[in-house]
């Protein structure tokens, strides 16, 4: 019988989320850069109608929330389909939401996390700033100030969906006794 993976997967997600929060709480320069750009990037205005949050409309904002909720539940159900297929639907949905929140910003969170962790390590051990910090932080700030991270969010979710569907398809093809149909 295949081992149920819900608890190990949730523990791994918890560890990743904790590492993510600890590093970003410590090294908040990126957040500071982003906060300084909020007025320019986030808030809607007549000069920037394409803006970020759907031109200040509450209904469009709720639409964004609902869009991502259903998209990420779909993504989570696909991954739960091969990680723990026997679990009830409510547990798969409970898994889907944090899993989706981890996946969505992954493409810019991984480099941001690596350079932040490198900087923290440099401070703790007295080795100074890692050489890759400057160029990478510049790329991330450019990414954010150009409003490109939203494209990455879509790309990450689509990428994980395709990979998940492939793995799900393969696991469906492989029979319990290990033979391929």
């Amino acid at each position: 019988m295949k081992k149920d993976l819900l608890i190990p997967v949730m523990v791994i997600m918890g560890v990743l989320a904790t590492a993510y929060i600890v590093v970003f709480d410590w090294e908040y320069n990126l957040l500071e850069a982003e906060m300084g750009l909020i007025d320019q990037l986030l808030l809607s205005s007549e000069e920037n109608p394409a803006g970020l949050v759907q031109q200040g409309s509450v209904t469009a904002y709720l639409g964004q929330m609902i869009f991502w909720t259903f998209s990420l539940i779909l993504l989570g159900l696909v991954w739960a389909g091969f990680l723990f297929p026997k679990r009830p639907l409510v547990e798969k949905i409970i898994f889907s939401l944090p899993f989706g929140v981890l996946v969505m910003p992954l493409i810019f969170v991984i480099p941001a996390w690596i350079i932040s962790a490198g900087k923290i390590g440099g401070e703790l051990f007295g080795t100074g700033m890692p050489p890759y910090y400057g160029p990478t932080v510049g790329k991330i700030v450019y990414l954010i100030s150009s409003n490109h991270e939203q494209g990455y969010e879509i790309a990450a979710v689509l990428g994980f969906l395709v990979v998940g569907l492939l793995i799900l398809g393969i696991t469906k093809l492989v029979r319990k006794d290990g033979t391929v149909s």
Partner: protein, 138 residues
């Protein structure tokens, strides 16, 4: 390492429709906390719903574990709701919305909710259990 990190910056290789979809539906990194808060709220509803179903099925009985758990979830859920409303007011307004009092209220409600949940969980864990040894006169 720099070469490895540069692998993550491929925005110019993404098709135009992905970027367009990002602009249509994407959530800005500064506003990304809105989505975890929204999901957090949904999870509170799910967990609260499960507790209500358990209460209807099993009743309150002699201990108040389930009602207190529900009360804790309600405090925590209201806190997340206020937090999310603040995200929404920033995202849809013309200025960054920040209320010190509301922020304090969010933290206080969250603290009370978690305190209730943890108090009862630990109380249940460390409650004195009846002895399993047989009475000596048997």
């Amino acid at each position: 390492m720099e070469q490895f990190l540069s692998l993550f910056f491929f925005i110019d290789k993404l098709p135009a429709w992905v970027l367009a979809a990002g602009m249509r539906w994407g959530i800005d990194m500064a506003c990304l906390c809105a989505l975890p808060n929204f999901f957090n709220l949904i999870l509170h509803f799910i967990i609260g719903g499960i507790i209500v179903i358990m209460l209807m099925q099993y009743g309150i009985r002699k201990n108040f574990f389930l009602p207190l758990l529900l009360l804790g979830i309600m405090f925590s859920g209201v806190s997340k709701f206020i937090d999310w409303i603040q995200n929404m007011l920033t995202a849809t307004g013309n200025t960054v919305f920040f209320s010190y009092n509301l922020d304090l209220l969010v933290e206080a409600l969250q603290f009370i909710g978690i305190a209730i949940i943890f108090y009862y969980i630990f109380r249940s864990l460390f409650a004195s259990k009846p002895s399993l040894t047989k009475p000596s006169n048997l």
